[in-house]
């Protein structure tokens, strides 16, 4: 066996490797990673999002434009003309349909974005592009990957709901000053749905079209049965439970309280908030366990 190559120029090789020395030693690096690792991964996440920044921006701006315009000139006019509006302010004064439906649109947009970010990108991190395995071999821990991802999703949700809210204002779809808090509650609603989906996506080994099924049999029914386009009370009792377990319903109802002061007992508002937080935390914890198991094999 002859050597087919030789170190062409050992001196040059030495010079080339006498490169820049890092300002931290490995133990200092590890200490920083332990403390800030989630933020380092968030930084990566946001940089990668810039790669599809146009999609993000178009979705964030286009969705409210399309829906508000469509509903504003079409459905809302029709409904307002024909019904003694189903929803009413505490006093019984009817609410314009656009005001009634706006919190639902906002909550829906957040859930859509959260679904996008937590299905294929998560599976791809484990399977196709294997992007999780790079950082996993660095000082970061799998928990920090999960945290960084969740923070990234939260950033995108706030961007989405914040922009959406800015479109709602001039459309006259928000009546109360507390309406801006919908930006936060809708984002929470997005996490309440998105993080359990993240945990589920992280478990999938084989792509057999599961996400299409999630879309068809979970997301779509949620939209139909969550009191989005008409109040849940208009539904027969037998299907109302779908609304009660649906994060979309809780998120929408919260929005209605904040946006136009929909009358509702305080305990129910607390239930909305608590339920959304519970789902988000449960999804987050499950994702941490599943990521750790799968990346630590």
């Amino acid at each position: 066996m002859t050597r087919t190559w030789q170190p062409a120029d050992a001196a040059a090789a030495g010079r080339q490797r006498a490169g820049l020395r890092p300002p931290l030693d490995p133990l200092q690096s590890a200490a920083r990673a332990r403390r800030f690792g989630s933020l380092y991964y968030l930084e990566h996440w946001l940089r990668a999002m810039r790669g599809y920044g146009w999609t993000v921006a178009l979705t964030a701006v286009g969705t409210p434009l399309v829906y508000l315009f469509g509903l504003g000139v079409g459905l809302a006019a029709l409904v307002d003309a024909n019904t003694s509006a189903a929803a009413s302010l505490g006093s019984g004064r009817p609410v314009p349909y656009l005001v009634f439906v706006a919190p639902a649109l906002l909550a829906t947009a957040a859930i859509m974005v959260a679904t996008d970010e937590n299905t294929y990108p998560v599976m791809s991190g484990f399977k196709w592009r294997r992007t999780y395995y790079g950082p996993n071999a660095s000082p970061l821990s799998s928990h920090q990957l999960v945290n960084g991802h969740c923070l990234g999703v939260l950033c995108r949700l706030l961007l989405t709901t914040g922009l959406y809210f800015l479109f709602l204002l001039p459309a006259g779809a928000v009546l109360e000053a507390s309406g801006w808090m919908m930006i936060l509650t809708s984002a929470l609603g997005g996490l309440a749905f998105g993080l359990p989906v993240m945990a589920y996506a992280a478990r999938i080994e084989e792509d057999k079209g599961q996400f299409a099924l999630v879309q068809r049999f979970i997301v779509m029914p949620l939209f139909l049965f969550s009191g989005t386009y008409f109040p849940l009370e208009a539904m027969p009792l037998v299907v109302r439970w779908i609304g009660w377990i649906s994060p979309l319903w809780h998120s929408t109802e919260l929005g209605r309280v904040l946006s136009y002061g929909q009358a509702e007992p305080a305990w129910l508002t607390a239930v909305h908030l608590g339920y959304l937080a519970l789902l988000a935390v449960a999804g987050w914890l499950a994702a941490r366990r599943i990521y750790a198991r799968r990346l630590g094999k």
Binding site: T4, F36, G296
Partner: protein, 304 residues
């Protein structure tokens, strides 16, 4: 730098790594040579502090990776078997983002990324998408990425598998430079020539166990003869002719496509074959390689 004792990893009932022990010293180039499924990658993931061992003892720089995962990983550069570059980022950004995981500041990472791109001969690709790189370029970028923290120890899992010969030689040259500069290399391969060229010392693994350990030259000396005579009689006849070759050389091995005769003097053995009136279709005298060592130890070829 590494010390493993009875290191074991089980997936369910199957032991992918079945009680292996070895030490790696600073500055050494240490290899794991074995066929697919031998447990090389599993071993590397345990050394890399990402996969928890089922039993045994393991210390990297004196640290137990199960307890000090981030500390262990901060010492290492890792080149996994499958590239996992982020295709949503440009070539240079892949390096910078990775460096951030080590808590390194941008003021260090920007010039460092340029230095490493130069080392990996990718300077003109700095702004390219990952998709636009060839397999060899991706591999070099992955190696560059693993060097972002200037690790003293580099783990390379099958660094050149799937590359064409030219790309392999470029890569070997880069690895050799790292070795020259004192970086400890731990690499797995199922190419015997790669092991012979890059490794000071290696273990031959099969089915999760160590079959032999030593320098390439010592392993060949110990488990094989100096030369090998390869004879091809045509696939139907190899087996039947083998009997007529009895007594030539120290040892013989009959494979489906050829007969191997192990002898210190291959030419002399060939003369003996001719003297018996046998006329092989082709003959070849060559030096013994690690392939022969593997065949001797396991009765199987490295690459099937």
């Amino acid at each position: 730098m590494i010390s493993a004792r009875n290191l074991t990893k089980k997936f369910g009932d199957v032991a992918a790594v079945d009680g292996i022990s070895f030490e790696v010293r600073a500055g050494e180039s240490f290899g794991l040579l074995g066929p697919n499924g031998a447990g090389k990658s599993t071993t590397m993931r345990m050394i890399g502090g990402v996969s928890r061992r089922s039993s045994g003892e393991l210390a990297i720089m004196g640290l137990d990776p199960d307890r000090y995962g981030p500390e262990v990983r901060a010492h290492l550069g890792v080149v996994p078997q499958q590239d996992n570059l982020d295709e949503e980022l440009r070539v240079r950004d892949n390096l910078i983002v990775y460096g951030r995981y080590f808590g390194l500041p941008h003021s260090y990472l920007r010039p460092k990324a340029d230095e490493l791109l130069e080392f990996a001969q990718l300077t003109d690709k700095a702004k390219s998408k990952i998709d636009a790189l060839s397999g060899g370029m991706k591999r070099r970028l992955t190696i560059a990425r693993s060097l972002i923290n200037e690790p003293r120890m580099l783990l390379l899992d099958e660094p050149t598998t799937g590359l064409d010969p030219q790309a392999r030689h470029i890569l070997w040259d880069r690895l050799f430079r790292l070795k020259e500069s004192g970086v400890t290399l731990i690499l797995t391969t199922h190419y015997m020539d790669e092991a012979e060229q890059l490794c000071d010392r290696l273990i031959v693994v099969d089915k999760g166990r160590i079959m032999a350990e030593g320098s390439p030259a010592a392993l060949i000396r110990e488990h094989s003869t100096r030369e090998v005579l390869e004879l091809r009689f045509g696939s139907e006849r190899n087996a039947s002719v083998a009997a007529e070759l009895a007594g030539i050389g120290e040892r013989q091995e009959t494979l489906p496509d050829r007969v191997l005769i192990y002898a210190d003097d291959g030419e002399a053995a060939l003369e003996q074959v001719s003297a018996r009136g046998l006329r092989p279709l082709t003959t070849l005298v060559r030096r013994s390689s690690l392939e022969d060592v593997f065949l001797r130890l396991t009765g199987r070829s490295l690459i099937d």
